[in-house]
Symmetry: none
Subunit: 139 residues, 2 copies
C-alpha cells in the first residue's frame, strides 16, 4: 500500500476551512458556524462542500468530530501536533453554558475505568451535566 494519494486536490475551500479550524485551535465549531463565518467573509463556501471537507479531514485525522448533544449539530475541532487530548465539557443545565475544561482528571478517569473496569471511554462524548457557579450559588 503506497502512501501516494493524489486523490485529493488542495483547493482553496479546503485551505480556508482547515486554516480557520487551526486558528480556532481548541475551540470547536459546527458545520453551520463555518458556513456562517465564510458568508460574512465574502468567501462563502457551499454547505455541501463544508460537510464533505469535514468528513475527509476527520478521516485524515486532521480534525476531530464531537457529539455533544444530539439534536445539536456535530462539532469539529482541530487536532494540533501537541498532545492535545482534548478537554472535557461541563454543560450547565440551567443557563445552558458549555464550559471547556482542560484538566488531567480526564486522563485519570479514562485510565482508571479502562484498567479497573474494562471499559473504554469515548472521550469525545464525555459531557458532565450540572450547574455552573453562577447557577448553583444562586439557588
Amino acid at each position: 500500500m503506497n502512501d501516494k494519494r493524489p486523490a485529493s486536490y488542495n483547493t482553496q475551500q479546503r485551505k480556508l476551512i482547515l486554516d480557520y479550524m487551526a486558528v480556532l485551535g481548541d475551540n470547536h465549531v459546527t458545520a453551520g458556524q463555518i458556513a456562517r463565518h465564510f458568508e460574512h467573509e465574502d468567501a462563502a463556501i457551499g454547505q455541501t462542500t463544508i460537510y464533505r471537507h469535514l468528513e475527509k479531514l476527520v478521516n485524515d485525522g486532521r480534525i476531530r468530530k464531537y457529539f455533544l448533544n444530539e439534536g445539536d449539530s456535530a462539532c469539529y475541532q482541530y487536532i494540533d501536533n501537541k498532545d492535545c487530548q482534548g478537554h472535557f465539557h461541563l454543560k450547565c443545565e440551567k443557563c445552558g453554558k458549555l464550559i471547556h475544561l482542560d484538566c488531567d482528571l480526564l486522563n485519570e478517569i479514562q485510565e482508571h475505568v479502562l484498567n479497573k473496569h474494562n471499559f473504554q471511554i469515548n472521550m469525545l462524548k464525555m459531557v458532565f451535566y450540572g450547574k455552573c457557579k453562577e447557577c448553583f450559588s444562586g439557588d
Copy 2:
C-alpha cells in the same frame, strides 16, 4: 410548595408507554420503535404524543435518554426502582449494554470538579459512553 401535581394526567397513552418501557427493562428503544410497536398492537399512539411523553418521563426521572450514534435517533431506557444513584453509568455504544459501576472515583470527580472548577455535577445524568470489554476487544 405542595407536592400536589395535577399538571399531568395519567392517560392511557402515558400508561402504555411507561408499561412498555418497564417490560423492556434494560433494553432501550427509540421513539420510532415505540410508535411502530403500538401500531402493530392496534393501539397506535401519535408520534407527537410519544415524543412529548418521553420528554416528560425523562424529566420525571422515570426513564433515561441516551445518544448512541449520531445520525441515529435518541434511545430511551426504563429506570428501575433500584437505587441508581451513587454510581456511574457506562453505556456501550456498540452493544447498548448499560453498566452500573460503584466506584469511589465518582466522588473524587465530583469533588474535584466542584472545588477546582466550581461546577456542581448532576450525577443522575452522568453517563459515560464508550465500549465494553466484549466490544472493544473484538475490534
